[in-house]
């Protein structure tokens, strides 16, 4: 057998391997998304499934034409006209933005601290950051209910320390949502930050000091810029899922204003309005594309290197 044929075949199998992730995405992301997109363009109906139109395969070309003609963007118009949805979206973005900011302020020092420790201690601390994952997420959120309730641990400690003299109503407040978000998403902020900070070459910091840079300034001029990719990754890993978060606001938050995940749940399960719920989901995806694209551009820039 000639070498060329061998090489050609190997190239073919390489292509096949590369194809697998695309097939996976097409099957488990693109196809479901198209279904959701289709439902979002449908109308609710008392039927099984609870929406029309359904594509009539038997009618052939005419069936397809009728089907397309029956689709409408009414649900999206509804999202734009009813304040309920707009407020939900804004609330979600606000919670995500504030939570991400708090996560950054807490997560950066933790990641920085771990990265500056002696090498042999680092894995232990990284382990401690990941450790909560070993307990079910739901159980951890329930534990917070326990801590935050009227006669819970937090109020108990605060009153013993005489910070407050009346129990504070933590539960069903935005504060509880933020506590839950920050607690749950901290590892997603710390790990990517640690991964980049740990790679920052120590001699770069020495070089900065040698060139007249005091320590705090070295942080701003060298460490922080070099950790930007990790910072962006961490922020994105927190911001995007927090925006669509359902469990935490549902269990810890109040009923005065809902995040978009809760609104979506309500439309789907309480109102049985699949088309509107689908429209909410598609619009949310569109909304989250903005920070995604921003991150892509940032990565592109960091791949191309400095200024």
């Amino acid at each position: 057998m000639s070498m060329g044929a061998k090489k050609g075949r190997r190239l073919g199998s390489t292509r096949l391997v590369l194809l697998i992730p695309y097939l996976w995405l097409a099957l488990f992301f693109l196809a479901p998304f198209l279904i959701v997109l289709k439902i979002s363009l449908s109308q609710t109906a008392i039927a099984q499934p609870p929406y029309v139109p359904a594509l009539d395969w038997v009618a052939g070309w005419a069936g397809l034409r009728d089907f397309v003609a029956a689709l409408s963007t009414d649900n999206y118009a509804l999202l734009g006209s009813d304040w309920l949805y707009l407020v939900s979206y804004l609330k979600s973005l606000q919670v995500a933005a504030v939570s991400t900011a708090i996560l950054l302020m807490i997560g950066y020092p933790i990641a920085y601290g771990i990265a500056r420790l002696p090498r042999r201690l680092q894995p232990i601390l990284v382990m401690l950051v990941i450790l909560p994952f070993w307990t079910s997420f739901l159980i951890r959120v329930y534990a917070w209910i326990n801590i935050l309730q009227r006669d819970g641990l937090l109020n108990d400690v605060l009153m013993r320390l005489r910070v407050v003299d009346q129990p504070v109503a933590w539960l069903s407040s935005d504060a509880a949502i933020y506590i839950g978000m920050v607690y749950s998403y901290l590892p997603f902020m710390v790990l990517p930050l640690y991964a980049t900070l740990e790679k920052v070459d120590e001699t770069l910091l020495e070089a900065a000091a040698d060139l007249g840079c005091p320590r705090w300034k070295t942080f701003w001029l060298v460490t922080l810029p070099l950790s930007l990719p990790g910072l962006a990754a961490g922020a994105l890993l927190c911001f995007i899922p927090i925006t669509g978060e359902f469990v935490i606001p549902d269990l810890l938050g109040g009923s005065d204003s809902m995040m978009i995940g809760q609104t979506l749940w309500m439309e789907f399960f309480a109102n049985k309005d699949w088309p509107v719920a689908s429209a909410i989901a598609v619009a949310l995806l569109g909304l989250l594309l903005v920070p995604m694209l921003f991150y892509e551009r940032l990565q592109q820039r960091s791949l191309e290197g400095g200024r």
Partner: protein, 368 residues
């Protein structure tokens, strides 16, 4: 400076830089011990030694990255041990260059001046000046990862020089370059140092490099100063067997001091006896390969020392051939013969009987 160098001392009363009884321990490990040394203004000074001899630790103490366990470091007469690195008027060129990957070439070079709050116009002017100095005038906007190894080295040099340091520290500056580029860079570095008049302190394990670039060399052994002198002095008149062996090739013959000679198992060889050396003291005769003559017959000449042997091995190096000659006591003596004729034929073959000879002043007697 040249006369100061040959004397093995620095010019002037107050040296630019003085190490005074410096010691450094890392836990139980002694890195530097009782180190005292003066370096003069405008010198190109080399700290030379095998890896782990403490030379890099000394350089890092100069830069301020390590604090000596004992002793003082004086710069212009002032103790700088307590001064943090960012306030010291010395700059360092790192072995890895340590260029900032998020800044352009110009951004890297300007970094030091920016910390001094220099004006924009001044920074731009001096960056241009530095880029011209390292002969990279059009590279200011380039990214660091677009540069070759040699170009990075120049940028690192420019970045360290822009603040016009009192002392430029160079940590193995040419270790990452290939042989040809290294040789070119050595001469460029010397030219640059002459032009600027800045004091350069270079750390290297490469003796050829130290000999070529430096006015004076401090040879270090296990954290201690073994010898400090001009390159020619270190090569021709080493003060110990260790230094003689570390620098270049040498054959050492053990013997006893006698009157104007050294008594060895191979015979009595005429040589200058070091002052303070007593008769019957153990001593070693150090002979450099290129100082020996090789002949088929015993050479005549009253003063010449001579010893017979057989050719054991011949190493052809192009410019010269290295002969290993087995002597009567079965030890080997190295002789270097310049290949001045173009025929490339060895004058002697393996197992030939030869005579090695040298004038008394070609040998150097060591007492330790």
């Amino acid at each position: 400076m040249a006369d100061a160098a040959t004397q093995g001392q620095t010019a002037g009363d107050t040296p630019l830089l003085r190490f005074e009884g410096i010691g450094k321990r890392f836990g139980p490990v002694v890195a530097v011990e009782a180190f005292t040394l003066d370096i003069g203004q405008g010198e190109f000074f080399a700290l030379l030694g095998p890896s782990g001899c403490g030379k890099t630790t000394l350089l890092r103490m100069l830069a301020g990255f390590e604090t000596p366990s004992e002793g003082r470091i004086l710069l212009d007469g002032d103790d700088i041990v307590a001064v943090p690195p960012h306030r010291r008027p010395v700059n360092m060129m790192f072995q890895s260059y340590a260029l900032f990957p998020h800044l352009s070439v110009a951004g890297n070079i300007a970094f030091g001046l920016r910390q001094e709050k220099a004006g924009k116009a001044e920074i731009a002017e001096r960056v241009t000046e530095m880029l011209a100095l390292v002969r990279m005038p059009d590279f200011g906007r380039r990214r660091v990862d677009q540069l070759s190894g040699g170009q990075r080295q120049r940028v690192a040099l420019a970045r360290a020089l822009i603040k016009r340091p009192r002392v430029l520290l160079l940590d193995e500056p040419m270790a990452a370059l290939d042989k040809k580029l290294r040789a070119e860079t050595q001469f460029e570095l010397m030219e640059l140092q002459r032009k600027l008049g800045t004091t350069f302190v270079i750390v290297t394990h490469d003796q050829d490099e130290a000999m070529i670039v430096a006015d004076r060399i401090a040879v270090m052994e296990h954290g201690r100063l073994a010898q400090v002198a001009a390159p020619s002095e270190i090569y021709e008149r080493p003060n110990s067997r260790w230094v003689a062996d570390f620098i270049g090739e040498v054959t050492l013959i053990e013997g006893m001091l006698a009157d104007g000679a050294i008594e060895t198992g191979l015979g009595r060889f005429r040589a200058a006896i070091p002052s303070g050396g007593k008769k019957r003291d153990t001593a070693w005769l150090a002979l450099r390969p290129e100082k020996l003559r090789i002949d088929a017959q015993r050479p005549t000449g009253g003063e010449l020392n001579a010893v017979a042997g057989t050719v054991f091995e011949i190493g052809y190096r192009g410019d010269m051939s290295i002969y290993k000659v087995r002597l009567a006591d079965r030890s080997l003596m190295k002789v270097a013969l310049a290949n001045t004729s173009a025929r490339g034929q060895a004058s002697f073959g393996i197992d030939d009987l030869v005579w090695l000879s040298w004038p008394p002043e070609a040998g150097w007697v060591l007492t330790r």
